[in-house]
């Protein structure tokens, strides 16, 4: 067994804190790394140690392998957890860690490389007999190849970047006229985003469900799955809401897809926590989409229904320990749902909204978990992802979960920047969503239901007017800020005598 005593988390934001929390529970010391913009970020304040790794743009810090390994050396960390994003699926980084004698908490560099290239991943899956979406055989070099494939498979088709992720270099093509311009745009976007302009085409599954299976595998040949996550609610090709169980799922389909996911992971000799993403069409046919060789943003919903701490399992596997439970011992209890809270303006094309957080009230109580990282007074940097928090809710049924999510969103108040909270609330009230009748086109299809609507009566406006009036009057007096409640213009009194009608 490789003992792990000190973990450097090569990430920032909520996931850095998420990982450090489990480390703390396991008695493992934590090392934060931070860019210039993140000196006062919460992960720096939470960790036992914190080391500076460069300027704010991520290529100079969170993507800079030398700087991170330097911090690992200085701090004496014996393992690195990459989180998600940044270097988490970078095979070179995993190799460099190994060369330094530092345990990389994730699968082998070979597996990362194989599954990171979407084309080689498709090939590996096809060899293992896993169904994949019909697509081009490897990278499209000549534009004519793309046209041939599209004519054969039938429009619409999707062009994707081989090195892709996060919707970059991805274009939906409806007809022949769109094909060549889309290829060129995708190629330049892919080059800019990944430094690699290799593209491939796939048949586009119309209104598919995006369903993924959580995998855990140890170094002793045990591979198991922790059931599915339904991730079809997306905007700009990014997930917004995830839930488990999927409203689409049947016990038979779950068993079949779970078995396929395990086979897929075994086919590449996977170790650690990973995710097999599938597209599922209206006839419940499913196709391998890609494998994420890291922790997913939405991993908490799986943790909630299975009771398994996935970060702890990652660390135990990285220590070389065998999994302590079997497939038969795993089961889902109740229903869990995650809402991603983005700093963005849903009423203005989801434009990111950087700025300073004024006040936060987080929901708590039965069935509520929040994984966030911003605090009052924190200035959200412009350099990184706009996701500031995840709200994870559990209920004994899907219905109870949605009711509880609505309550939690009602309680959730973040002021100072625009957020997706109210938009998420509107989703919870859309009949298609509550009926579990949705696919990846949900947000597009439900524009009317998702429009901002005045839910508060006239009195609400009047009360806001009264508050603004009083604040304006009081500001004329310019008093110091305080969090204590006080009656109007009476602050110099030590004890306030409260009057009642």
């Amino acid at each position: 067994m490789k003992q792990i005593r000190k973990v450097l988390v090569a990430n920032r934001g909520e996931i850095a804190i998420r990982v450090m929390r489990t480390c703390r529970e396991m008695g493992i010391a934590t090392v934060a790394v931070y860019s210039e913009a993140d000196r006062t970020s919460l992960h720096v304040r939470y960790a036992d140690e914190a080391w500076y790794i460069g300027k704010s743009p991520s290529p100079e810090s969170y993507l800079h392998i030398d700087h991170i390994l330097d911090a690992a050396r200085k701090s004496g960390a014996d393992a690195i957890h990459p989180g998600y994003g940044f270097l988490s699926e970078n095979a070179v980084f995993a190799e460099r860690c190994a060369a330094e004698g530092i345990t990389f908490i994730g699968p082998s560099p070979e597996v990362i490389r194989q599954m990171g290239d979407k084309i080689s991943a498709r090939e590996a899956m096809k060899r293992a007999g896993i169904p994949v979406v019909p697509g081009t055989e490897g990278v499209v070099v000549e534009e004519q190849e793309a046209l041939d494939f599209a004519r054969e498979a039938g429009f619409p088709v999707m062009v994707k970047a081989a090195a892709g992720g996060g919707g970059k270099g991805m274009r939906l093509i409806h007809n022949e006229e769109e094909l060549y311009p889309a290829l060129r745009a995708a190629r330049s976007e892919a080059l800019a985003a990944f430094g690699d302009d290799a593209l491939y085409l796939e048949k586009f599954i119309t209104t598919p469900h995006h369903i993924e299976f959580q995998i855990l595998a140890d170094e002793h040949g045990h591979t198991l799955h922790l059931f599915e996550r339904e991730c079809s609610i997306q905007r700009r090709h990014q997930k917004m809401i995830e839930e488990t169980p999927s409203p689409l799922m049947t016990p038979e389909l779950r068993a079949r897809m779970g078995e396929t996911a395990v086979r897929a992971a075994q086919a590449v000799g996977y170790t650690g926590a990973g995710t097999i993403e599938f597209l599922v069409d209206d006839t419940l046919q499913y196709y391998f989409l890609e494998m994420n060789t890291r922790l997913q943003v939405e991993h908490p919903i799986t943790e909630r229904v299975t009771g398994v701490d996935l970060v702890k399992q990652q660390i135990l596997v990285a220590m070389g320990l065998p999994l302590s439970f079997t497939q038969e011992e795993l089961f889902q209890r109740g229903h869990a749902m995650e809402c991603r809270i983005y700093a963005e303006d849903p009423d203005n094309n989801f434009l990111p909204s950087a700025g300073k957080i004024s006040r936060i009230t987080e929901p708590t109580g039965l069935g509520i978990r929040t994984d966030g990282y911003v605090y009052e007074g924190y200035e959200i940097p412009i350099f990184y992802d706009p996701m500031i928090s995840k709200l994870i809710v559990w209920g004994s049924s899907r219905e109870e979960t949605i009711s509880r999510m609505k309550r939690a969103l009602y309680e959730y108040k973040i002021t100072g920047v625009k957020t997706s909270v109210r938009f998420l609330e509107r989703i919870m009230n859309c009949p298609d969503f509550t009926a579990g009748n949705y696919d990846t086109s949900f947000i597009e299809k439900n524009k009317a239901c998702l429009e901002s609507s005045e839910t508060c009566r006239n009195a609400c406006e009047d009360m806001v007017i009264i508050a603004a009036y009083i604040d304006y009057r009081e500001k004329l007096g310019r008093l110091l800020e305080s969090k204590e409640f006080q009656p109007v213009q009476n602050r110099w009194k030590k004890t306030t005598h409260i009057h009642h009608f």
């Binding site: 434009l351 700025g355 009602y410 009195a459 406006e461 806001v464 604040d471 800020e481 009656p487």
Partner: protein
Amino acid sequence: MSVEIRIKNRLARVELLERNDNLLKIKVDEMIYHVDLMHTTGGTFSILEGGRSWNIELIPKQEPRKYTAYTYYETYDVEVIDAEARYLLNRGGGGPATGEKSIRSPMPGKVVKILVREGDAVTHGQTAIILSAMKMESEYKAPFDGKVHKVHVGEGDIVEGNQPLIEFEA
């Protein structure tokens, strides 16, 4: 002291009629309310009115007398229009009118690309500048047919919210 307050498209006249510590009798347009109002100096308000309980957060904007107001349900832009504001409005200054001839950054971000130079002729809707913030790039376009009057920023610059980027002239 009566002032006007703008909320959405409404302009409401407010007047405090009576006050006894936390108990206020206050007139909003034609409605008279008896409210029990407590607040922190930080802008958190607890208002009880006819049994109804309201929680309101007021976050001041950079411009004086302007707020973003949050109830549990809604977010409002609110502006207090007092004598000074009315004077400025009448003079035609201070308003957002000047913004119409220029592109301003809607939020803090980084200038990725500038597609026009000073003196260039532009057409309405032509992309003039690309900003990036939090992994998302956004394009900003010329507001009318005309000429680029001034470019205030360079590629790679970090900009604040509401900073003028490019000015145009007809």
